[in-house]
Amino acid sequence: MNAEFTKQELAFQDEVRTFLQSEFPKDYRSKIDANIRLSKEEIVDWQKILYRKGWAAPSWPEEFGGTGWSQIQKHIFANEMGSIGAPEPVPFGMKMVAPIIMAYGSDEQKARFLPDILESNVWWCQGYSEPNAGSDLASLKTSAVRDGEHYVVNGAKTWNTYGQYADWIFCLVRTDNSVKKQEGISFLLIDMHSPGISLKPIVLIDGHPEVNEVFFDDVRVPAENLIGEENKGWSYAKVLLTHERTNISGVPRGRRRLRSLKRLATETDDGFGANMMENQIFKNKIASLEIELEALEYAELRTLASVSAGKAPGPESSILKIVGTEIAQRIDEIFVELAALQCLPYVPEQFEDGYQGASIGIESSASATLTYFNNRKASIYGGSNEIQRNIICKAVLGL
């Protein structure tokens, strides 16, 4: 039993580290450290840098332009990205729709969509959830009715992340109402510029319109945009939902945040002549989280080792989602506790790119509450943590 990297793996780690140090743009890095959002152009620019290096899609097979990396290499890459704070490519194209196109799409669809995803020429968004279909996703109602060489789509999708930037949306739509709800769903790719699509931003409690409602009003979609067979969409989507369940725990990002939390704490007065890092209660809270990350890291490594040994990532990986998000949320809380009065100002625009006004609150203290509020989403999205617990009960405990 050992948790060591091989010589080759260590050399790879060095290569990744060196690349990120020199190629991840310094101004993006300082923005991320100051909790300022990157613009769409900056995100795309960064993804194109990764593309030029050949590292845009670590999880893709080589035949589609992936890296051909081992599980361990993917883990190392994700680790190094997280440690430096470099954003992972936006997942909707690269991690969510692309694997489905690869597995179930036609050759034409693969040739048409995959290269632009890899090169970050096209921005994808997700059309799954609906106002009345959240955790019970299969009860979705958006309909697609076949009309000659087209589907006519009507309905509404919600919690659509960054649809305002998107060129394409992948949707689950209902194509048959007469069968069990899971069996009448199809997987459709829709051009966001099609007539009849409209967007309504949803402003989250941190003040940022990160998600949208998307309305479809008699939107005509060429039938060639159907993935696989009609009414099989649910089975395709389910595969996607369990896809890439390793490297999702956010351990390196958590460690990076705790490092900056500790630094901030040494600079924060406790009001009694010492700093907050000298406060035993506060110190122990941070220690508990560091310990938690340690346990999570090894849980992830154990999953990774078993995947490397050829076993499919089992439902045990739901643990990584649950624990990863819950730890991240606890770190959010501690940032709030540390910032104290400094996080009360609600000036969300100062964390937008290009803000020119006076900054309120020391450093990024005022972002603590915003991050805390925003990140409550983490235990809700991607299959809420309650759904993950259902998966554990059903698939592991046999309940």
């Binding site: 039993m1 050992n2 948790a3 060591e4 990297f5 361990i72 035993q280 110190k283 122990n284 941070i286 220690a287 508990s288 560091e290 310990i291 938690e292 340690e294 346990a295 999570l296 890291e297 090894y298 849980a299 490594l301 154990r302 990774l304 080792a305 078993s306 490397s308 040994a309 045990e316 643990i319 649950i322 624990v323 309650e386 993950q388 617990r389 259902n390 554990i392 009960c393 592991v396 405990l397 046999g398 309940l399």
Partner: protein, 377 residues
Amino acid sequence: MDFSYSEVQQMLQDSVQKFVSKSYDFDTRMKIIASEEGYSKENWQLFAELGWLAVPFSEESGGLGGSVVDLMVMMEEFGKGNLVEPFLASVVLCGGLVSELADEDRKAEKLGRVISGDLMLACAFAEAGSRFNLSKVATSAASNGNNIVINGKKIAVLNGPNADELLVVARESGTETDPDGISVFCVPPATEGVTVRPFTNVDGQKSSEIDFNSVVIPATARLGEKGNALGALEKVADRVIVGLSAEAVGALEVLLRKTVEYSKTRKQFGTSIGTFQALQHRMADMFIECQLARSIVVMAAMKLDSAEGQREKTKAVSAAKSRVGKAIRSVGQESVQIHGGIGVTNELDVGHYFKRVTALEIMFGNTDYHTERFASL
């Protein structure tokens, strides 16, 4: 990176598993606890024959040269069987101290008998005022010519009532928490001035309080250098902590399995209680706790076996004990809760596992202590 067990580790695991399933059911265990010794001498001899007592010791000392990961594999199975035989107390803790401190002759002599199952040891280190601090030693050892005179009161001496020899941690110099000045002495319990008050712990294991009233022993009874035993004590304690954390992991998994099984058979309101989501999610959380506890113990065991520095090792051990302690609280309590009334009765094994893991959470530093130790490093 490889988390699979070696062939030897698998054999060790099989061997303990077989013993537990063949010879250690609930009734047998309760009878052993009710016996005068509180452990089975036959079992102990069998452990010796199976080579288990030799696992932690170097090959030069007649042991099997087992790693901490080996110990972990074994202790996890001990935990599943909830064995009361004093393996950690006599072999890992005391044997470990002898191995760290004693000169070659004494090492060979004592460890040989530990390995053959003929020597039972107990370590008297804790005191009413020491809480979890190993360097807080008020018991004094004063030189008097060629003799040493020991005075003091020890508590929580695991395996004390059955020990052929006591390893007594006493102070030869310095203030009460001085890291220097601490020595370990071999004291036969029959020595004049030694009073052993035996009792059974909540987990069914034998323990004792021991008073030392002007106990005179030869200076040659000292293991190792004068006043220089703390480092060895801490090092051995770290190994014991990983061992008992692994034992807890085994016990917690049994609690989880038994709770899930019970929830599938216990019917209320016309259906098995395992169909209630209010209970399902709590069992999912128990599963998560078990997995995290296991993961961090694996981490700590591998760190102790590695070439890392002492600070990193100590940090890893404290991280593990702290995290396992949390899992003990939640999995232990939840398994009792989900079993309902039967869970708090003496007739079901669940309550006994709960009691054992509760003791494990406290021993060698509880969760808060280790969280703080982790934070201070």
